[in-house]
Subunit: 105 residues, 2 copies
C-alpha cells in the first residue's frame, strides 16, 4: 500500500483536492484512472487517501511520462469532468524526488 | 485546507505511512507536531489525509528548513515514538516542487 519506488531521482505528482457535492461517476472514474495510470510507461507507484482533503501522490520515472499521462485521451476526459463537476478545488504539484528513507515494507 | 504555496520552486516532504495498532499518545502528538511545524522558519503549508494509508505533505522554502525541522528536539522525540510504536511502516520523500497549477481556492 506504500509505493515501492526505486532510488531517487524520480518524479512525484502531488494531487490535492476538495470534492464538490457532485458524485455521479466519480468512484468508477477514479478507480479506472488508477488502473490506467498503472499501465502507463514510466509509472512507478501511487499512494492515496481522502478525508476533508484528498491527496493522491503518483510516482513517475521522468517528466516525459507525466506529460504523456496528462495528455492520455481517457484521462483528459476525466480531468475535464474533474474541473467541471467533481472538484470544488484542487492543486497539482510536480516535484522531483531527491531523497527517500523509511521504515518497514 | 489546500495549502497556499508560493510560486515554485520550493520543497515538499511527502510522508506516507501505515499505522500500527498502538494509539497511545498518537493523536495529541500529531496535532502538536502540526502546530509546531507551522511555526518553523521556512514552513509554507501542509495537507494531510488518512485512510488505509496516511499521507501528509508539508511544504518548505528550502532544504535547510526541512533539515532544521527534522532536528527539532520535540520533533525528534515524536519521530522516535513513530518508529518504535505508532507506525508499522512509513516513507519520507523529499522533493523539489517545480510546477504548480490548479482550480479554485
Amino acid at each position: 500500500m506504500l509505493a515501492e519506488t526505486p532510488d531517487p531521482p524520480y518524479y512525484a505528482v502531488i494531487f490535492s483536492s476538495r470534492r464538490s457535492d457532485i458524485a455521479t461517476g466519480y468512484d468508477e472514474t477514479a478507480e479506472r484512472m488508477m488502473h490506467l495510470a498503472s499501465q502507463q510507461p514510466g509509472f512507478l507507484g501511487v499512494e492515496s487517501a481522502r478525508e476533508e482533503v484528498g491527496i493522491t501522490v503518483s510516482y513517475w520515472a521522468d517528466l516525459e511520462s507525466i506529460k504523456r499521462w496528462k495528455a492520455q485521451a481517457e484521462h483528459r476526459e476525466a480531468q475535464r469532468m474533474g474541473r467541471e463537476a467533481w472538484y470544488a478545488s484542487y492543486r497539482v504539484r510536480i516535484a522531483r524526488v531527491e531523497r527517500e528513507y523509511g521504515l518497514g515494507d
